[in-house]
Symmetry: C2
Subunit: 490 residues, 2 copies
Amino acid sequence: MTAFDDLMRFERDTGALAQIAGRLGWDQETMMPGGAGEQRSEEMAALEGVLHARRTDPRVGDWLAAVDPATLDEEGRAQIRHIRRSFERASRVPGALAADLARLTSRAHRIWAEARADDNFAAFAPVLAEVVALKRAEGQALAQGGTAYDALLDDYEPGTTAADLAQMFGALRPRLVALRQAILDRPAPRPLEGTFDEAAQLRLSQLLAETFGYDMTRGRIDKAVHPFSSGSGDDVRITTRTSPLDPFNCAYSTIHEVGHAAYEQAIRPGYRFTPLGQGVSMGVHESQSRIYENQLGRSRAFCGWLHGRMTEGFGDLGLDAEAFYAAVNRVQNNYIRTESDEVQYNLHVLLRFDLEQALIAGDLDVVDLEEAWNARFAADFGFAVDRPSNGVLQDVHWSAGLFGYFPTYTLGNVYAGCLLQALRQAVPDLETQLVQGDLRAATGWLREAVQQHGGLYTPREVITRACGAAPTEAPLLDYLEEKFGRLYGL
Amino acid sequence: MTAFDDLMRFERDTGALAQIAGRLGWDQETMMPGGAGEQRSEEMAALEGVLHARRTDPRVGDWLAAVDPATLDEEGRAQIRHIRRSFERASRVPGALAADLARLTSRAHRIWAEARADDNFAAFAPVLAEVVALKRAEGQALAQGGTAYDALLDDYEPGTTAADLAQMFGALRPRLVALRQAILDRPAPRPLEGTFDEAAQLRLSQLLAETFGYDMTRGRIDKAVHPFSSGSGDDVRITTRTSPLDPFNCAYSTIHEVGHAAYEQAIRPGYRFTPLGQGVSMGVHESQSRIYENQLGRSRAFCGWLHGRMTEGFGDLGLDAEAFYAAVNRVQNNYIRTESDEVQYNLHVLLRFDLEQALIAGDLDVVDLEEAWNARFAADFGFAVDRPSNGVLQDVHWSAGLFGYFPTYTLGNVYAGCLLQALRQAVPDLETQLVQGDLRAATGWLREAVQQHGGLYTPREVITRACGAAPTEAPLLDYLEEKFGRLYGL
């Protein structure tokens, strides 16, 4: 046994334990009895304690020192790169700070939920200020010369800096603001109306999951308040939700989560439980969920097929296929990021990205956050936030200490724009296939070009290899302007 | 922090991790995608590795040496007693033997399943011989001067020896054989006939669970091939199964598992995740499931109430309440322990107890086991085993290395007999309450007298305290002869 073998055996066991933590998280959201919450917290804490001890185990440092990467193949070198990075990051954060953050964010999450229910930002501000201070300290501990925010961002999107994002996002913002305004100056399309049977929605969810290549022998679909995907390898589960008035919620939540799940299911089996055995970054993960949901699932071609299936499932929808497509892609004024459309979604994200950078840098005080949010919102969206639950209190992320996470949503959209361009070249009759509800070539190409590699390449590398060029925001902007220009007669 | 505090903190985390292992086991039987089996084995192995390392962690020995039990209260002393016993047992078994046993029983279980499907004992015998040899070695490593079998039995029923059991079981056997024969000489009662809607069976299951005091806010009911109860404290889940021709299977499986689950739910909350925070032995556990299922659930009084509920749920059953009671308690020739009735069940167990003792002692070779089984079966049941799947291959236990487990089933019945006697004194109008389907006083008494204590007392102590006298087989025999004598007009 070499040091590398010992290290990989240790990492695989750690990965298996992390997968167990994911299974508990799934259970908590889907199956766990309501009265088991406090006990479950203790169970999770015990498991997190084991995981933390393994991630900072001094033997990992010894093994890393004993391994000469030059003796390894490409996969081995990539494993060492991930393990070294994780070990160094875990070792740089003092244990007391990590423990303080865990306790604080648990408390902040509860306070945020109450403040949102009460529409009272002032009730949340003090604890948020504490979270910002600790996250700044964490970022500084990790930074090694760079900025604290970049160090936090690196957790979700390794190798990408705020400067990289600011360049892309700076190009996106004016054209998206202009596109949004032009759309809203046009007459609104008719929405889908009616009430829609839950069992039929769940049958459609199942059909869509299989259509988009979700392997149900290695996954399952359940209902949850907030849809999510969890797990890796041969056990990747998704959840969806139903709304009697809006069957698109269930359908597109399912397709979105299938994008995440299909990525995890497609990673080479030999990578199981190793650092290569999971999606490489939040941005690349989101690129898969978004291209499944939007570029494919909300395309005119696929909407024609979906219109047929929904008519079969629910009866006459009162909209022909063209009007159905317009309803699927309806752009309306809205406050809430998660309820937004393809055009406005990124404006919601850009707002958060700028504000959270300023918070971590100390350029914006938490006491001024609500005002800064509302001013920026009015500037980009042209109307005022009416209450904090529709504004600064709407998202869970900051209460959970997730700073640097928001921009990966838009980065995923940028990547999805690039991937669609490459996919159209690789599958010239994509439209014809989508019309028939045949996603096999499209998802097969994504599987080959992106998903199978897991963590083998860096996020930027995997997109560059798949697309033949480094990612830029241009394809996404062109795609949005072309699609919505045609839809709204601009 | 004292050594005792450190030790208890460590034990609580170990207990929390063990609860997680239980949750994974539940998931595997109820929710896990079919294709995830191999991956799940690796997850479980990683977690078992963590648990094994903690159970044999040298710090536990150091803490135990540093604690003076005389400084502790009754609960603290009981904790130390359990921890010392587990640590010493874990430390006595060589790591290589434990690992060999884990691998061997995994293989033996697969071979047993195939052999049973093929009705071919010869295909199972070689690997069973290996299991017997390793279990004998394990028993000898644990024995400390006693017999290997007693050392194995002690895992399931601490403090009870084969000699104790042999005395009880020796008194049971002739009277049960005689009772069985007398019953089968009488005309058989009419069985329940028809087909029974699955949804209505599951509604009844839910009603029965709540009626018997299962706290659904801290539990849930799902379907599984083999009913079981798992978990502790605030998250104790049960499973049941349905059979379209036999609604009693679902109903009494549910009540049985509720007995186990109610025990775990009733243990003092302060014992959570500690050695006191779980049922004290398999025998005491089985006493709860059995008294719920049989002494209460199959009583004439409760069957009257159940007859009403089943008539509501399924329509006219074609049997009046008296005939329904006779059908619930029908005694028939049968080969299979798990399908047996109250009278014959213990004969099935006694047979296994005698054979497995002989196997471990080396007085019986595995090659002669099938013949020995069939001879004993014919002697006690009066007819011949027709094929191995109806005989020596019917149970999973031996393939899994569970030697010393079978007798705890009958010990549970013996304890249940004693507890019924005490319960009747404590709740004089028990019959009246059962007629009304009111189990609150009965289950409340069991909760107070037995369940809440968890591991505070030894198994024998907890039964003795509850009943006011040491347990003997006499109350069970009297109960069976009285109940079935009346039912069959003996």
